[in-house]
Amino acid sequence: MEHQKTSKQLLGELLDKHYADALHAKAEGKPVAWSTSIAPQELLETMGIHAVYPENHAAAIGARKHAQEFINHSEGKGYSVDICSYARVNLAYMDIQQCEAANIPLPDLIFCCNNICNTVIKWYENIAKELNVPMILFDPPFNHEYEISDQNVKYIKAQILHAITRLEEITGQKFDYDRFREVMKISSETSRWWKKASLLACAKPSPLNGFELFNYMAIIVCMRGTKEGLELFKLWHDELQEKKEKGVGPWKDGEEKYRVMWDGIACWPYLGDTYKVLKKYGINMVTSTYPDSWYIVYDENDLDGMARAYSSNYVNRNLAFGTDNIIGIVKDFQLDGIIYHSNRSCKLMDFRQFEVQRKVEASTGVSSVIFDGDQTDPRAFSLAQFETRIQALVEMMEAKKRMGGAFYE
């Protein structure tokens, strides 16, 4: 009865399988890698190395409200309360190795790409040191120019080739370029369907309740290079397409009054709480910066294209690009508002937020608020303060609607 599964069911099954497969691989003595979330997993998939994703795992621990015990452990080891909470959770998991939320095997290899932040270099260095395992680093330079320079592409491409050599050395196996080509093709295709599905939220009302993006994201992170991942996003797309055609909105029991974007990472320990506050005011978070973050698309066998794609995610781009990106989102999704998460864990996202907010507002007139929170540290968020900020946003959006909406409309 396979064909009757909903994408949501499939999502749950795939995630369970992802974790189970990794544990199984480890038990059989096969190598396991810990990888950052936007790393060239194509290389690992080609080599048959099981990758697990500490960011994803830490988010899962947070969402199931287990983060605090891990955070306490890390802070006890001397980790500052001011560093990324994903890192604090994961570095503790490395010692504790047990959580009800989900378990991952310890790595034989560290696979780190700092296109998402330089913090991961430090975090992963520590894992490699503590567990005495090799580390492969991909270093896509920060793009302070608007476009990605050829100089950067050349360096990243050479690092991909260098990583292949290192993987061959570490595993003692030859790299299979035919398999690589196939994985490249699947990975790009999965990315395309991920984005295609998420773009259906441009419809008014949006068939997508955007908090689902946070759930489906787990698979675009963990299974981007697999056929199962690809199939999931096709199915999700088709379901949303059907809802869109029927004019069905995000909720059965409520109407989409306002459409907003969420800038930054979710507050995992308060995912349900933040969702409920928004829904209470008829706010549908139709999109975030996530759909583009995993839009890693290039032609198969095009290593230059692959290098460019891995350097292209918005946090690795300059402020002008980031601003234009959000202005485009405001228009494409016909947004009423933006919720900026000033996330204690993520300085790279935070320290450009004020200027981006000003520029986006000047260009589009869209209303916005910034709230203080954290991706996985439950202590750094107050639900009451969050709701107050959201009430302010509603007042601004309402006033703007009365005045005829934002400039772009």
Binding site: K77, T119, K122, H144, K154, Y155, C346, F351, Q353, F354
Partner: protein, 377 residues
Amino acid sequence: MSKAMSLISELAYAGQRPKDSILKAMNETGKKSVGCFPIYTPEELIYAAEMLPVGMWGGQTVGTLADRYLQGFCCSIMKANTEQALLGQYDFLSAVIVTAYCDTLKCMIENWKIASPQLNLIPMVYPQNRKIPAGKEYLRDEFLRVKKELERISGKKITDQEIQKSVDLYDEYRRTMQEFSDLVKDYPDMLKAKTRHLILKASYFMDKRIYTEKVRELILELSKLPRENAFGRKKIILSGLIAEPDGILDIMTENGMVVVADDLAHGARQFRTIAPDTGDGLNRMVERVAMQDGCAFLYDEKKTRAAMLIQMKEKYQADAVIVCQMKFCDPEEFDYPIIKKELEGAGIPSLYIEIEQQMDSLEQLRTRIQSFSEMLA
């Protein structure tokens, strides 16, 4: 006053008054100056362009202008730099080089383009994979790109020979600083912790050739004097980003401590690695970056910093390590638990102090440093 003492006061004075010292150096040499953000910049190229590289490591300015760009949990050095830029205090600089070693610095590049367009910002990215051929090639390309920018600002072509000469000068500066730093243990009264810090700090605000000559002279003068009695002092190694506010150094002195060596980004990390003598000037600069280890801002797969501190402890017969943790400095914060574990494993006492550059009260730190000192006694 002895010749040594007068050189010490002159250098410490220069270190204490950044802007006056830079303006004086510009006046004396007729050179333009280029601001250099932490952690490392290609100062050799600036010098080869006949301009003065000057350090931008925060200051005592506190205000609210920087709040337009940065949240409260941003490192105090970057906040101070931004505040000072918005106050126009850097307008005498012809350009500013901002690097991207950490996430905060990446954001500084972007904010400063908007906040201070008059400062001729030159963003620069050092490769983290600096030991592999691709990383070295990338760094050379970055140096060439920055060189072009510097030529535009100075209006002068930089020749290969000038780079070579500049790298030679920087080698000489670095060797001199190593020698100077090693002398401190023998002159704990003349080179108290704060004095040592200010002398090192002066290097950021003076012409490197003149500075190096002065320090060389100081070394010579010191060698003529008998060693001071260091009996009963606690020999300390400082680690971290920077030992400021420098009041903490006075507290160390008051508690019988001598800084015999440091692993500070603002201090010895600037001079502990000498360029190898291979290839042209740019190549020597590239290879030097590739060789440098034990720094929180440079990817180090083997994470050798703690091992290096343990070696330093042996070399200098130090009693303890004090980690000066600049609050909100992620790279340093990530290194600390590993350092703590390895120092403990080696039986080396260490003290962790969390600082902000402009903190008002040092009383809590005073108590901790005092207790630590008593524990060492």
